[in-house]
Symmetry: C2
Subunit: 253 residues, 2 copies
């Protein structure tokens, strides 16, 4: 097997053997000035559709770089269909949450404005940049879809009826997450994890959620977790039980 | 039931009804200048031994504050005995890891210098301050024990023979964490989670670990997780399966 290049880039364009691929200006800067790579150096490319490809740098300029696509390293493979719907948190914890959630394999990040949400300004572009960087680093073949922040009620209005919701609830009735996930093993996808703001959901929101057929309230133990901790903990438990954690990282054995 | 005060402080001194408790200078500043609390205002106190107590402020000065302990809110209760032995990460991720690991209920934080560890300077005092703040916020009754960074080999030298090690391994043979934890349900405590640096453990370290009877290598899925993500994911899975996550936060029903 070919050695994997240390550098992995997400690009928008199609990928196939022999193709020339133009990098973005930021990627050209990263390759040429940060990593100091030049013509002939190998780079792995993925676009979320065509798998992962070995490529090499054809030329680097000050603001541009061109790569030639060589051979396929990995075929595109199905990934868990898991949305994270979360009340947004402050800037640094949000960067962290997006990075970690991407590593933990979410397929979509959907910030939800709830009644008790304090942070209302969420920069989608910044979330996308963090998601791309984390996807490159963790060797995913996709980048999670990032949505603009919307009111929770609006998100629920258009909710697909077949998508289960794992509601992380620090107050009220809830089944321990492990117990719930064991019982859910036959249910199949798709799923979403829903986490609230500091202080939790308010009663009208809980009433609205309780009307949904596919909502299950789960507990994450006796300590009060921060909003971002709760999201990461639930994602890890879900992946371990219902996701793809029976698999190993590629090429590490 | 008495309303819980919003403010919780960890203090060193004993706690019993009627006692006067002197705050640290930082705590006095926090109570008086940040929260702008004054005489009569309620505060919850815990010391890791005597449970949680309702107290009220007797007086606040510029650099000092005295509290009077009133009544017991919660008895001290046993908590999971789970160490986190981890190759330290950079400053901001380390702050984050200590905070999250405290919320996720670790009993001890032990930084381990491995062959591929890049960050060698770890400030124990800073870790302790972060652990205390997180414990106050998440309503724990204890603060995790924080150790100085030591070489992994030295930590393993004095390893207690009855303590199981969950080794998070991104390369080599490993059982999916969920499958392993299901099989481990009868084993009882104590446990430790061991996570490596970026790039993983080297072969001599893995050979050393493989000689231990109680080490089990587990996998956290097909994506390459950052060191801090791996630690948090393993802690969450352990707590959900073997820890105290069948319990709910106190006073939230």
């Amino acid at each position: 097997m070919t050695d994997r290049p240390r550098t992995r880039l997400f690009i928008e364009s199609d990928l196939a053997s022999g193709m020339a691929v133009e990098c973005s200006r930021d990627q050209a800067h990263y390759l040429g000035n940060v990593l100091r790579l030049g013509p002939g150096d190998p780079v792995a490319l993925f676009n979320g559709r065509d798998g992962e490809w070995l490529a090499h740098i054809r030329e680097t300029g000050k603001k541009s770089a061109t790569l030639t696509v060589d051979s396929c390293l990995r075929d595109q493979a199905p990934e868990p269909d898991l949305w994270l719907v979360f009340a947004p948190v402050k800037k640094a914890p949000l960067d962290f949450l997006v990075q970690k959630a991407t590593e933990l394999g979410v397929s979509a990040l959907m910030p939800a404005i709830t009644r008790r949400t304090v942070v209302e300004r969420v920069k989608r572009e910044r979330m996308e940049a963090n998601a791309i960087e984390a996807a490159e680093q963790c060797e995913r073949l996709t980048v999670p879809h990032v949505e603009d922040a919307r009111p929770l009620s609006r998100i629920l209005d258009g909710w697909p009826t077949d998508r289960h919701i794992l509601l992380c609830a620090e107050a009220g009735e809830a089944v321990p997450i492990n117990e719930f996930l064991r019982g859910a093993e036959g249910r199949g996808e798709p799923w979403a994890i829903l986490t609230g703001p500091e202080g939790g959901f308010d009663q009208t929101e809980l009433d609205l959620l309780n009307k949904f057929p596919n909502v299950s309230a789960v507990g994450l133990g006796p300590r009060i977790l921060r909003a971002d901790t709760a999201a990461l903990a639930a994602l890890a438990c879900w992946q371990a039980a219902l996701g793809d954690w029976q698999n190993r990282p590629p090429g590490r054995n």
